[in-house]
């Protein structure tokens, strides 16, 4: 194989987030409409490399993905050792808006998966005017806990291995081996308690069932894509949200909970028509 660089640029941004100084790692590729991508719980922005390496997408979109604080190459805030990390709906919305402001993004499209698929519903509820459109991947209004989350962060269980073990079944059984294990590797690298702290939002604080009626997609169009093998954010859960909002939803064949990283080629085939529609808005 001859050596080659990908078209992705990665940089560290210093900014105040949630009232504290942060050092945030951000990757981007492409030019055009800003597409701000939000990774899943306990993972990082590498999940979106399949988009950033697809010229069909980067020809018209500036694809941007940041590692949330505590995740990937973004550091936790100073003093983290005395904090139990826990992601709240309020902080998550604020963080996204503050990152978009820091990057001076003009009406970006925000696209998130899983917790990111949930937060786009909160964005639609709280700050719809800030976004050109919102794309929810693996979106549902709520997910009940279905295992004891305390297993994810205790000293006698390897946190990375158990996190990968928990999510491994959410990758479609038909996913390419490389995509499956790349997705799980990101989980294995997560810091202690970070996945668990994100799931506080996903399974407890981020429940938005009571506010769906207050979301108006005329103020910000929404699109939903969910993998058929996802038993966490189920296709039924996505379809219920989409129906309630009057938005478009597509259930994706042969994909699971991590479509963009488990099988990027297949996922991009579903995403491109949505991106084309957003260009025409």
């Amino acid at each position: 194989m001859s050596p080659s660089f990908e078209p992705i640029t990665g940089r560290y941004l210093h900014l105040d987030l949630l009232g504290k100084p942060h050092r945030l790692y951000i990757e981007e590729a492409g030019q055009g409409i800003p597409l701000l991508c939000l990774h899943t719980a306990g993972s990082d922005a590498r999940q979106y490399r399949g988009l950033m390496n697809d010229k069909r997408i980067t020809a018209n979109y500036r694809v941007i993905a940041f590692d949330m604080p505590w995740h990937g190459k973004s550091s936790p805030p100073v003093g983290w050792q005395d904090i139990e990390y826990q992601l709240s709906s309020r902080d998550y919305v604020r963080m996204i808006v503050e990152v978009a402001d820091a990057l001076q993004l003009d009406k970006p499209v925000a696209m998130g998966c899983s917790i990111g698929g949930r937060i786009v519903l909160h964005l639609a509820h709280e700050v719809p005017e800030r976004f050109r459109a919102l794309i929810g991947l693996e979106s549902a209004a709520h997910t009940e806990p279905y295992y004891d989350l305390s297993w994810l962060n205790r000293p006698d269980v390897h946190g990375g291995m158990v996190s990968a073990g928990v999510v491994s079944g959410l990758v479609a059984p038909t996913a390419p081996t490389e995509g499956r294990w790349e997705t799980l590797w990101h989980y294995m690298q997560s810091g202690p308690g970070v996945f668990k702290g994100d799931l506080y939002f996903y399974m407890i604080d981020g429940d938005i069932r009571g506010k769906l009626g207050e979301i108006d997609i005329a103020r910000c169009p929404m699109f939903f894509l969910t993998g058929e093998y996802d038993y966490s954010c189920t296709p039924e859960g996505t379809l219920a949200v989409a129906e309630r909002l009057g938005a478009e939803a597509v259930i994706m064949k042969d994909l699971g909970h991590f479509p963009m990283s488990e099988n990027p080629e297949k996922f991009n085939g579903y995403l491109l028509p949505v991106l084309d529609k957003i260009r025409d808005l």
């Binding site: 279905y146 269980v157 390897h158 291995m161 928990v166 491994s168 079944g169 038909t174 038993y231």
Partner: protein, 121 residues
């Protein structure tokens, strides 16, 4: 379905390596038919079918036969691809001392799904 479990697991050197710190006995309940699986250093040392008077095991996975049969298909139907999918739908119960199970979750998921390989042959 469990007759071939020991051969399928023990023939997979990488799976045995991944489980090299596992020493435990767990129970698989198919309806009310119980099987004890003894794991030693990642290998299946024995598979013993009940009935038992005083079964001794760390954790148990219990599900109806039709659930296990779908789970063990080479490509299981939607909703039957993973233990956690079954637990979430309340089609399977995982109970007991879960520490060995959770501490070696990727290993145990592959051990318990091993009959899929046998079905594919």
């Amino acid at each position: 379905m469990l007759e071939t479990l020991a051969d399928l697991v023990n023939a997979d050197a990488n799976l045995v390596r991944r489980g090299r710190f596992v020493d435990t006995t767990f129970l698989i309940a198919i309806d009310d038919t119980y099987t004890l699986v003894r794991i030693q250093e990642g290998s299946v040392a024995s598979v013993t079918r009940g009935p038992f008077i005083t079964p001794d095991y760390s954790f148990a996975l219990r599900a109806p036969r039709e659930v296990w049969e779908k789970f063990w298909q080479p490509l299981p139907p939607l909703g039957f691809t993973d233990i956690f999918a079954l637990v979430k739908q309340k089609l399977m119960q995982v109970e007991g001392d879960l520490h060995p199970f959770m501490a070696n979750l990727l290993y145990f998921k592959d051990v318990i799904a091993a009959p899929r390989k046998g079905a594919a042959r």
